[in-house]
């Protein structure tokens, strides 16, 4: 055919370069905007939450690179987070004062933290490389155990690390909640994941997830891909650890308990394995869930027992119905809402009835805060029972996707729109 004009050939590159620069600038601007808004209009508590949300988004998105995109089951992500925090801890203890004296410049603390992020990335990426190496030979669950074990080794080393105060931990300087940097890091993690998926390398990652044997046959270097995933994932976790350390200012092994790794893993699963936006949104919302649940009022013990029994019955009924019914989506949704309403009424009645049982009504009411982690665990189980692929599954959040979902749930509305 006719040779295409040179403009159209060079255009995509130039265009992608321009859009790349634009989105980078946009991200920086957005990060500073977040910092400005949360610094100006929110309390220091809420400001801290905004910062921590970014940290958890980074953690979730970076773990998604390992777990979701490459399919390597890592349950020790907090170890890399901790390595980042301890790197900056040690370096700040040794050199921050000297730096402070030597370089008297504006935004001195921010500069130091950026510098520390660089070192945090190096150490945690190195650790990621070490952990990634066994994946040469290990598969699936075995790798999970190795990552878990690595996490434990790091925790125990930290307990014995007297330079950083052992189990007590140590206070580090400078203390600063760098909201813009945290969000910029989160955006970088999201952007990098997205660009990875759009590139040839990304396909190699995906192929390792889908079928290692087929991937090898197609010439993908599995080892290198897996190790690369680990290195990238842990580097982001390490950078997040640096920021987190400077926000918390007192770092100790207690901050990095094993549960943390599970929670980050849950975020990834919740959002949908492989879905970047899913991980990011789940990271932010699941991080906020326990904080929101602080407001729960004390629950009488009878109502609690009623809720537990009612919940089990409702979930059972829902599960049974959703597995066996072949009705239209809209009918199904309506029935399920009906079951939930009946379930709630059932819970209320049961709670009232139980309050007449003397041994139950005599029990002290349960503080709302005691229920937070329980609610968290129940959410997890229920989600897995009804939507095991996660909220977003493999999809990314986009307006198009939202529209297609809505179209499926509300068929009539779509007809109305199209006609």
């Amino acid at each position: 055919m006719v040779a295409s004009p040179p403009v159209s050939k060079s255009n995509p590159v130039a265009k992608s370069l321009v859009s790349g620069i634009l989105s980078a600038v946009g991200c920086v601007a957005l990060a500073f905007l977040v910092q400005y808004i949360s610094g100006q209009f929110l309390s220091s508590y809420a400001n801290g939450l905004v910062f921590q949300a970014a940290t958890f988004v980074t953690l979730a998105v970076s773990l998604n690179i390992v777990n979701g995109i490459t399919g390597q089951f890592s349950i020790g992500h907090y170890a890399f987070f901790q390595i980042g925090a301890y790197t900056t801890g040690a370096l700040s203890l040794l050199f921050w004062k000297k730096f402070q004296g030597a370089a008297n410049v504006p935004m001195q603390e921010d500069i130091w933290i950026v510098l520390m992020m660089f070192f945090g990335i190096i150490t945690s990426a190195f650790a990621g490389w070490i952990v990634g190496l066994p994946s040469l030979r290990l598969r699936g669950d075995y790798l999970a155990i190795v990552t878990l074990g690595f996490g434990e080794i790091i925790r125990i080393s930290a307990e014995n690390f007297t330079f950083m105060g052992g189990a007590t931990g140590t206070k580090i300087a400078p203390e600063k909640t760098v909201v813009w940097l945290a969000w910029l890091l989160a955006f970088a993690a999201i952007g990098l994941s997205r660009n990875l998926l759009k590139s040839v390398h990304g396909l190699a990652f995906l192929s390792v997830r889908e079928d290692e044997i087929a991937a090898t046959a197609m010439g993908v270097n599995i080892t290198r891909t897996k190790v690369a995933a680990f290195v990238i994932g842990s580097a982001f976790a390490g950078a997040a650890g640096v920021l987190y350390a400077h926000q918390q200012t007192f770092i100790s092994p207690d901050l990095f308990k094993m549960d943390g790794s599970f929670i980050v893993l849950t975020m990834v699963i919740f959002g949908g394995t492989g879905s970047i936006t899913g991980s990011a949104l789940a990271g932010a919302s699941l991080f906020y869930l326990p904080e929101a649940l602080r407001e729960l009022p004390p629950v009488p013990f009878a109502s609690l027992v009623g809720i537990v029994l009612g919940l089990i019955a409702t979930i059972g009924a829902l599960k049974r119905y959703s597995d066996q019914s072949h009705a239209k989506t809209s009918v199904k949704a309506a029935t399920m809402i009906g079951i939930i309403v009946v379930g709630i009424v059932f819970m209320a009645i049961l709670g009232k009835l139980l309050s007449f049982v003397p041994s139950i009504s005599a029990h002290a009411p349960i503080q709302g805060s005691q229920l937070r982690l329980v609610v968290f665990a129940v959410t997890l189980i229920v989600l897995m029972l009804f939507r095991p692929q996660g909220v977003f599954a493999h999809h990314e959040f986009s307006w198009k996707w939202l529209r297609s979902v809505l179209a499926r749930v509300l068929p009539k509305q779509k007809e109305g729109l199209s006609s």
């Binding site: 080794i153 599970f262 997890l380 095991p388």
Partner: protein, 396 residues
Amino acid sequence: MVLHGLFLGLPLAALDIRTLPQQIVNGLLNGSIYALIALGYTMVYGILKLINFAHGEVFMLGAYTSLFVSWAFGFTPNATVEPQTQVWYLLVMIVASMTVSGLAGVLIERFAYRPLRNQPRIASLITAIGMSMLLQYGGQLFLPNSPPPNIDAMINPYRGNVNITLVKSNENLVAAMKSAEQTKLTADSAWDAQKKLEENSFYPSAKGQALQDAAQKADRDYIEAQGKYNNSGVSILMPVGRIITTVVTFILMGVLSYLILFTKRGRAMRAVSHDFDSAALMGINVNSIVTFTFILGSTLAGAAAMMDATLYQPGLQINTFFGLLPGVKAFVAAVIGGIGNVPGAVVGGLLMGVIESLVGWAGYTSWQDAAAFVVLIVVLLVRPNGLFGSTAAEKV
């Protein structure tokens, strides 16, 4: 030297060869509990390819059951009357603990894992983690926190130690010990007589102070001489409670092996483990086999929990996190042995116990848990499927 300075607990230990046999035996005895819990992990993994994170919590429920049964027998912390002590209490406790654990395991499988069997494995894994968290934190609302059973001292009629002497103590040191004891007794009685005159022996008068100092000096000399005598020999001390635990462990393992290797149901289990779908096509009721597996694994955990809470280590406090650490360690043991392999779990458990003991023997008790994981990683690097794991290629 830098490491030595930076990290606490790295004494360049003087290895004491005389405590080595004792430590190895300690390790084997400790390892048998790990082995018993590890069996549950390994069986479930063999059948479902699922790491049952809630297994540690099944163990915890078993411990609570034995505690409540002991309370029913009158062993409450504030008991006014010393309860009657009878051996069959122990049997009732272990049976109750095994029953409740078995039931808990089955319920968890039925309602949390089975609905997800056709979903990606990661979904069941997350449910398992959720289940584990639910039992830990939800249990806190209903279960009493850290109640002390201390049943061992009251019930266990076989309480005491079995002492095996490997090298006899140096008899030449006996005379020195005896004379030190004499001095000690004299000094002590002098101080005791004076103590009766003093109001508070911790605020003695000048005369009392002198007598007290002398008595304390004599005490120290006696302990020194006694230690010299004791340490000149080599012996192995085994608390009977632990021996019972180990023996029961091996009996249960024997029963388990028989079930798996020589019964029809065991053959069906092996078939399901080998190929889930083909087994179903061959007419095996897969659901009932999975249930059976959970019953077996969870009952073993229940037995381990009862023994751990009562006989094995007297006075351990029970809370809802009771199963966390033993669970993780047993899990590691199962993986070292080759997860899915029954003898592997036993060997892995014993090996874990011995490794921990040896690390402690070398003077690094603060690194015990880390050492277990280091060994795990090394084993997996050398033999990616564990020591006894099948080497068949895994289809992903």
